[in-house]
């Protein structure tokens, strides 16, 4: 699977970057992540348990951050194992660019899936991923565009500190996991 996307978020570059690294904000915009641990510098392990209809699965996600350039870009490598549900692995490149008072976020995901995910979901995977990204960024845009108090309160945080290792990767971890779940739903 290869997918690119672009979102215009009505907030400044640094606000968006901080938002992407704020677990509380992310937590309000995404569902499903049960636990996360830092396994090393730029390395994380997440466990996502989900039950949808008759199928439940535990997804173990291993994530590595690379090429982190606050506040404009990073790369995330993910390796998600879902046991009987199959597996996924892939890379996401994320870039932020200022456009007037707004921020243009673009992403590029390359992933391949295996097992039941590939068997029953290959046709649906693009649409499912797109919908997840749309839903997330719609919610995220609302959060950081000034309507939500957290976004403005964070103004004084320096950029260096804003890059928190428990932050931005979460969305991709959950996205990979949720993709997997979406595929199972199709089964």
């Amino acid at each position: 699977m290869e997918q690119t996307g672009e979102y215009r978020i009505a907030a400044g570059l640094e606000t968006v970057w901080r938002g992407l690294n704020d677990p509380e904000i992310l937590g309000r915009c995404i569902d499903g992540c049960q636990s996360m641990e830092q396994a090393g510098d730029d390395q994380f392990v997440a466990s996502v348990k989900a039950k949808i209809g008759p199928v439940s699965a535990t997804f173990q996600a291993q994530l590595n951050l690379a090429d982190v350039n606050p506040p404009t870009s990073y790369t995330l490598q993910a390796n998600v194992k879902g046991g009987a549900a199959g597996f996924g692995k892939g890379t996401a490149n994320v870039e932020l660019r200022e456009e007037g008072s707004a921020t243009l976020l673009s992403y590029q995901v390359k992933a391949n899936v295996g097992g039941k995910l590939a068997q029953v979901g290959s046709r649906l995977i693009d649409g499912a991923a797109r919908k997840m990204a749309d839903d997330f960024f719609a919610a995220f845009g609302k959060e950081v565009s000034g309507e939500a108090p957290q976004a403005t309160a964070a103004d004084s945080v320096p950029v260096e500190r804003a890059y928190e290792r428990s932050g931005s990767w979460v969305i991709w971890a959950v996205m990979f996991a949720a993709l997997a779940i979406a595929m199972i739903l199709a089964f």
Binding site: P54, V55, S56, A57, T58, Q60, G83, A84, A85, G86, F87, N112, V113, G114, G115, K116, A118, Q119, V120, S122, R123, L124, A186, F187
Partner: protein
Amino acid sequence: MSEAVVQTGIGASVKRKEDLRFITGTGRYTDDFNVAGQKYAVFLRSPYARARIEDIDVSEAANVRGVCTVLTGQQMAEDGLGDIPCGWLVKQKDGSDMVSAPHPPLAATLVNYVGEPYGLVIADTLAAARQGAEAVLTDFAELDAVVDPAEATGSEQIHEGVSDNLAFDWELGERAATEAALASAAHVTRIDLVNNRLIPNAMEPRAALGSYDPGSGEHTLYTTSQNPHLARLVLSAFVQVAPEHKLRIIAPDVGGGFGSKIFIYAEETAVIWAARRTGMTIKWTADRSEAFLADAHGRDHVTHAELGMNEAGEFVALKVSTTANLGAYLSTFGSSVPTYLYGTLLAGQYRTPNIYVEVQGVYTNTAPVDAYRGAGRPEATYVVERVVEQAARELGRDPAELRRFNMITPDQFPYDTPVALTYDTGDYQVSLDRALAMIDYDGFPARREAAAAAGKRRGLGLSCYIEACGLAPSQLAIQLGAGVGLYESGEIRVNPTGNVTVFTGSHSHGQGHETTFAQIVSDRLGIPFDDVEVVHGDTGRVEFGLGTYGSRSLAVGGSALMGAADKLIAKGTKIAAHMLEADPAAVDFTDGSFVVRDSNQALTFGEVAFAAYVPTNYPTELEPGFSEKAFYDPENFTYPAGTHIAEIEIDEATGVIELVDFVAVDDFGHIINPMIVAGQVHGGLAQGVGQALLEHGIYDEYGQLITGSYMDYCMPRADDLPDFRVDTTVTPCTHNPLGVKGCGEAGAIGSPAAIMNAVADALGEAVAMPATSEKIWRVLQNRRTA
């Protein structure tokens, strides 16, 4: 003969007995059988095409409520179970044996295709078993997979000891003579073909219910098998699950097989092994996803063929090189399908004097490939009929005329082909003529013109196929590498009240044996059709049998029943002669009665049967009882043949293909039940249409099956099919007592080439199967933009 028997005897379109229970929901399939306290199994399957199993953590699964135990390939290996063997040993070009990679029923250390089972979770409920399977954490180390059969020999080695991933390099025919004839041919037509991988998709998925009785030591396995005795033989002699006399295999109603239920599979083996190991009765029913992954697939050939002709257009030589994808392991008959069931059919209906075929059978990290309706013969027909059609176009000859010009003529039978077979009889021209008349061949140019005016490209394609059925003469089969003989058994037990129970070693999973075999026995013994009960599919009731595949049930199994009936009549004649105080030589059996010739003295079949069980006035030299059995071993294959013609229209704008007309004229020899035969032909044609236009099993570059559900694997539906027009011609088989040839596979064998030839005719160029509308649209669009 009584009127009742005429209406139900040989040649009558009797409605199928079994259909009443099938359509009223009272059939009993494996999953319908339940035992109090039974457990449910869910298999652990590899998500990788090739990987090493590093660790299996079952601790969490064991804690799932309702889970009884988790068993793995490691434990199976510890119990000393044998590998699943391949039943047909093919010799290579250099005379050496094929290289058969070990195939443990459950993988212990290495997995070699997506879906390969490596363990099973047993639980009180299916839901708990599923939950348990989802909680098993297996650590795999992924290895590079080999997926493309055309590149398999140069890729990483899959199995230890199998260099170049080559299971066998096989040949048949005279290479030097064929190459010389090609070199001096006036014209050579060359063609490259892919025979697309198919996934069987029987309506009922595979299932098993295994139990073990510690008191008697008996193992009982209900399962979806086309050949329960063969399964018992292999499971006892090779896999060593249980001794043969302590293992009963019951294949009750089975909802379609198409070959895919011939084979000895891991799951059924594991279920009966686990039943004994745990003392539990264990049920497993595949879901559709599992069927896609782990049923043996069909076809998957890559072929180059060259057909040489002289100035007159006579075929002088055919040379064929094929790479056959065998999948990750050699399935039960995986080696015979692309060799002896393929290469031997390359003469087709033609007199081609020089034929040479070589086949490389390669391992890949995909599901095993084995027999699927037609098994080798559709692939052979596709090669012959595509290259012949292309030759006709290159030479500017009428395709029907070029075929007729090269056909074996009726006076040439028995005809020895250059590829090991002797065709006993046939009249190919008569089927061709009938089919041409039915399709109105001469009217085609006008139909093509009318279609063009409506924005449609119309095409017509022929396929004159032959197949070898009635598998098989045992001595020949064993000489060619078969592990078993291919005879069949039949038994007729006459009950004291005169009705009969018939036991056949063949197996019905849609073919209608209960009707056809009852017709034969009723006709032969002159008793009412409803007085005949046919029993099959139970090693505990039927003495022995080799099952149903290769269109063999009637030709071989039906012939065995004829033998048993003959024995009954012979014994009945002696009993009747004694009772009527006549010379046995003067007693005839006609219309269900033993009649003293030129007299009015007679005894009915029922009276004789009663006398055999209540022997008051009875010959002292005869044993009481009235039951006979016979084994029948055919002396040759049977050779159904015919002509299929397809007419298609392509929508110029969208590329959508409509199969507007399809004619099939088949020679199946004598026909017992024309309605069942027509049904078999229709079903086979539907599968042929599926292969030609819709179906394609695809693995991605990592060996993931991306056509693993009905969203991506397109099965033919009713509106994809035309109103098939079928007819038959008859040259009776010369060597079986019924004169029958077999009709189960012809539809799937003949039709793909006819349809693809029609597509090539309409499009002006060939495309690969399946000819989807997307492929056709791309061809047309490229022309528009070029």
